[in-house]
């Protein structure tokens, strides 16, 4: 074949170069080797694997182990090879997940039909969905109020810290350190069960809101502090030199510059908080997890718990995506 273009010439020289300087075990990357071993693996799967069911004999266990290692090794040849195209790597990755799932399904010895009946017994839930949705409503209500309050507390504490008064800072730092260290579950239980002895008692929902707001307010204030610290000191001097009061300077110069820095981390914090609303079931707030556990007991089935997990996923995944998106946006803006 006559070489017509420069690219073929170049490809040729590099091929020649590789022939005279072969990499160690270069043949494992050869398409023929990969195709051949793939066929061998498929044949292995079809004819040599033990019968379904948890393997009892040592030989069967070894057999499965060898097969698993071979499959992993073969996938690694593709996945770890930077020269392979993306589409091939995705096919292999998904294929690997599929094969592993298939092996687990075939050899774990689980009674899948019974499991499905227990975990995904949607029929049993019929007529009780409203309870879960009621719980979701309470969860969202708690989340919304606590979001508002904790951002308010965070901003207030963050702003107070910019005043730079040592005494005030001592108290604020104490607040932040204490409430970032206490686990949310402990905080709620203390507020709900211990504070009444001091004559302070909240209902279960109020307890949840107070605990989440105070606890996450501490986190939020750290976000705000980082936001304010990112502002160049010259900005404040310029504002003050123009005659703006401290509060005007905060409102017109500092907050607008801090907020783009604060929002991404704040969104992350608020997502964590929404997840922590589940802790409220400890103090009997009628939120989603509490409802699911009630149903779990009354129906004697884990399906409601699975359903609540799915509901959390559906609500929280979009929020997490949103948080990531905001972070991306804000990075571009700056």
């Amino acid at each position: 074949m006559p070489m017509t273009t420069a690219t073929t010439a170049k490809a040729n020289t590099s091929a020649k170069f590789m022939r005279s300087h072969p990499a160690w075990m270069h043949w494992v990357r050869h398409p023929y080797f990969l195709r051949g071993t793939l066929v061998a693996l498929i044949l292995y799967a079809l004819f040599l694997l033990p019968a379904p069911g948890a393997p009892a004999a040592l030989a069967d266990k070894l057999n499965l182990g060898v097969f698993t290692v071979l499959v992993l090794a073969w996938s690694a040849l593709i996945l770890a090879d930077g020269d392979r195209p993306d589409w091939l790597q995705s096919i292999v990755a998904f294929g690997l997940v599929g094969v592993m799932g298939w092996l687990f399904y075939r050899y774990s010895g689980a009674h899948w039909d019974k499991l499905a009946a227990a975990f995904f017994d949607w029929g049993r839930l019929s007529g009780s969905w409203w309870l879960l949705l009621d719980g979701l409503k309470v969860t969202l209500l708690i989340g919304l109020i606590s979001t508002f309050l904790s951002v308010l507390i965070g901003a207030a504490v963050g702003i107070l810290r910019t005043l730079g008064s040592p005494t005030l800072n001592l108290f604020l730092t104490a607040y932040i350190d204490i409430f970032r260290s206490i686990p949310m579950a402990v905080l709620m239980v203390v507020i709900f069960f211990a504070l009444p002895y001091m004559g302070i008692s909240f209902g279960s929902i109020a307890t949840t809101v107070v605990a989440l707001s105070i606890g996450y307010g501490a986190y939020a204030s750290e976000s705000f502090r980082a936001g304010f610290e990112a502002i160049h000191y010259g900005q404040i001097e310029a504002a003050r030199a123009l005659g703006l009061s401290r509060w005007q300077c905060m409102r017109m110069i500092m907050l607008p510059q801090a907020i783009p820095v604060v929002i991404p981390s704040l969104t992350g914090i608020l997502v964590s908080m929404l997840k922590d609303t589940a802790v409220a079931s400890l103090v009997a707030s009628p939120e989603l997890l509490k409802r699911a556990r009630e149903l779990y007991t009354s129906k004697a089935s884990p399906t409601p718990l699975v359903a609540s997990a799915l509901i959390y996923l559906v609500v929280i995944i979009p929020l997490t995506r949103l948080a990531n998106l905001l972070e991306h946006r804000m990075k571009k803006v700056r």
């Binding site: 160049h232 010259g234 900005q235 001097e237 310029a238 504002a239 003050r240 030199a241 123009l242 005659g243 703006l244 009061s245 005007q248 017109m252 110069i253 607008p256 510059q257």
Partner: protein, 249 residues
């Protein structure tokens, strides 16, 4: 005031001291600045020039001494410092424009929210000032879209928008590339010609010769020497001054 024939005193500084913890930065500075006078402040790095300037509008609180602006003791606790600062514009080495606002918003901010003039009036005034510094066409640009020289001119316009009696400049050109220094100094020379009272920390000899009425030479927190630019540049008396000038010339 206008019937007075002798030039009135704008700024009077008496025995000004400033310490940062153990560091005695200003060790008793006394001087006066008359209306429409342009005073240049020179001195080696760390001699306290910025600190001196920043004491004049109380961005730093002096430890002792007196500062009178138009006869008013500005260190008195009964002074509303925010009101007072509106009489004194300040231009910084690093421009310090507000990055989240356009140029015109930067210029309008203080007149609207401190002087409480209407938005329309502030806009009109702002555009006029941007025209004056040659940047009316950049009114809607954000600071980061401007060159350093342009940013500094906007910063000057922003300070002028408060219609101050006095302008302070702290090394306004030392963060600029050489080709942009001229445009900023031109604006400052115009201001000086128009009769603005100015205190300028700068080492731009050409500008000082042309525009300044008097030079203060600071070293180690003391006012070592003062005089007209000719006196200071051509015939310095003090060893520190001679030494310093020989280094920058």
């Amino acid at each position: 005031m206008s019937d007075q024939t002798s030039p009135e005193i704008m700024i009077e500084v008496v025995d000004l001291h400033k310490r940062f913890k153990d560091l005695h930065v200003l060790k008793g500075i006394s001087t006066t600045v008359k209306r429409s006078e342009v005073v240049a402040v020179m001195g080696p790095s760390g001699s306290g020039k910025s600190t001196f300037l920043r004491c004049l509008n109380r961005l730093e609180e002096p430890n002792s001494g007196h500062i009178y602006i138009e006869g008013v003791d500005i260190l008195s606790p009964y002074i509303d410092i925010n009101k007072l600062r509106t009489e004194m514009g300040m231009v910084f080495q690093s421009f310090n424009l507000f990055p989240h606002m356009t140029c015109i918003q930067n210029v309008m901010l203080a007149p609207m929210h401190v002087r409480k003039i209407s938005r329309d009036e502030a806009y009109e005034r702002g555009i006029k000032l941007l025209e004056k510094v040659g940047l009316a066409h950049k009114a809607d640009a954000y600071p980061e879209q401007l060159s350093g020289g342009q940013q500094q001119r906007v910063a000057i316009a922003r300070a002028l928008a408060m219609q101050p009696q006095i302008m302070f400049f702290d090394e306004p050109t030392s963060a600029l590339d050489p080709e942009m220094i001229g445009e900023v100094l031109d604006v400052m020379s115009t201001l000086a010609r128009e009769g603005m009272t100015m205190v300028v920390v700068s080492h731009e000899m050409g500008f000082i010769r042309k525009a300044a009425d008097r030079v203060l030479f600071l070293a180690d927190g003391l006012l070592v020497e003062e005089g007209s630019p000719e006196e200071i540049f051509n015939n310095p008396q003090h060893a520190r001054t001679k030494d310093f000038l020989s280094k920058i010339l």
